[in-house]
């Protein structure tokens, strides 16, 4: 089937000590490795309790923003297929070897038209979820803080979202579930697109803005109550909340946006309807964009659209 999901988000943090406190104690991720890169940068690897692969979040000390994303494919031959399609699209593709990223197998790497680095891989060391597979319980009994089960999706910015949409369609086989565009006309300008390869409502969204920037990466939660509880925990831990708890018109998801100790925006996201390739795409136009983004407040602010790392 090609790309199954966003396997990892690798981001920069200014201070590893503070970052670890946030991702481990507030978000409740499980640390699976810490090391130092050849350049001397500290790194920490995490997974959520319901994830089985070795890691889904990598923190690297030095700066802010996103280093790269990893995308996991179902079959080994998907790598060749994606490599071929990426070259046909005009991208420069390089091979990556097992161990270039700890616990991740061979794969390919390329820079997207939005200047983000994408890695595609098939193998990751399997650790298993925290509840196992044999007669598993519903959740681990001693979760810490928010206790996020898994990485969900990310939103990045690009000067040309339409070009990114084409790339994601042609190279990854993604489809759009929702779009923001200047009008309903055929020649409308695409402002943003929400894309996926599965029933998950979005794996990656692309918003018009500067190249190579991170808007946010999101963790999955079960429902509204968990989103509200996450916001309560953020208040207890003095985490700056950007927006929420609220609902998105786009995707119908329930959300809180907040910032990690380095100023990278995070989100907790619940709900969202099931995506299908044949479901007609929902289209939002600017006069209702406020409602599309924040369904309750119905008002967009500068901070949400221009604060990036």
């Amino acid at each position: 089937m090609g790309v199954m999901r966003m396997g990892y988000a690798h981001v920069r943090v200014t201070d590893m000590g503070e970052a670890k406190d946030h991702y481990a104690n507030t978000m409740g991720l499980y640390e699976t490795r810490s090391d130092v890169t050849a350049e001397g940068n500290k790194r920490t690897f995490y997974k959520g309790w319901d994830e089985w692969d070795h890691h889904s979040v990598v923190l690297e000390e030095g700066g802010v923003g996103v280093v790269k994303y990893g995308w996991k494919v179902e079959y080994e031959h998907d790598l060749e297929d994606i490599e071929k399609k990426a070259r046909e699209f005009g991208l420069t593709v390089e091979r990556m070897s097992k161990g270039d990223n700890p616990e991740i197998g061979d794969g390919i790497r390329f820079t997207t038209p939005s200047d983000h680095v994408f890695e595609v891989y098939h193998e990751a060391t399997a650790i298993g979820t925290e509840v196992g597979t044999h007669n598993p319980d519903a959740f681990p009994r001693h979760l810490v803080g928010v206790g996020a089960p898994a990485l969900d999706h990310s939103l990045i910015t690009a000067e040309d979202p339409a070009l990114m949409q084409s790339m994601l369609e042609q190279v990854f086989g993604f489809f759009a579930t929702e779009r923001v565009q200047t009008s309903l006309d055929d020649d409308a300008h695409l402002i943003a697109t929400w894309m996926t390869s599965t029933n998950q409502i979005h794996q990656l969204a692309v918003l018009e803005g500067p190249q190579s920037k991170l808007h946010h990466f999101a963790f999955r939660l079960g429902d509204w109550n968990e989103v509200g509880r996450a916001a309560d925990l953020m208040a207890m831990d003095d985490v700056p909340i950007d927006v929420g708890p609220t609902r998105h018109g786009i995707t119908r998801g329930q959300t809180v946006y907040f910032f990690d100790p380095s100023g990278n925006r995070n989100e907790v996201f619940a709900g969202g309807y099931l995506a299908y390739r044949d479901r007609p795409v929902s289209v939002w136009t600017p006069e209702q964009l406020g409602k599309g983004i924040f369904y309750h407040a119905r008002e967009l602010n500068d901070r949400f659209t221009t604060v990036l790392t």
Binding site: D260, L308, T309
Partner: protein, 116 residues
């Protein structure tokens, strides 16, 4: 205690030792509109520093605040800690010139009943 003077309104915030400028302004009743991540990552909270000096105890990425900005009077308010008294120039609506509504009680609680 370091003070932050807001020009042109002349209102003053009294900060606690080691307190970042933005946190102190909020505590003293000023509404700061130009705020992003509050964690030094986005550069949204920059305000012109016209007198005094600030330091940064936490690491701030060069991509957010360059070495040149640091020395040329740009204050990244969410991370900047005053070294003594400072003055910020606010020519626009980014920070309310004076605490109003219930915010004035926050200002009075810290800074006394009248403006300096």
């Amino acid at each position: 205690m370091p003070t932050v003077r807001i020009e042109p309104s002349g209102f003053v915030a009294h900060l606690q030792p080691g307190e970042p400028v933005l946190a102190g302004l909020n505590r003293c009743g000023f509404t700061v509109r130009q705020v992003g991540c509050r964690r030094g990552g986005c550069g949204f909270c920059k305000i012109d520093l016209v007198a005094g000096e600030v330091t940064y105890e936490k690491t701030v990425a060069e991509s957010v605040l360059s070495a040149e900005e640091k020395t040329s009077g740009t204050c990244l308010t969410c991370r900047a800690i005053p070294e003594g008294d400072i003055t910020l120039q606010i020519d626009n609506e980014d920070v309310s010139a004076k605490p109003t509504g219930l915010m004035k009680y926050l200002n009075q609680a810290v800074c006394g009943p009248t403006k300096e």
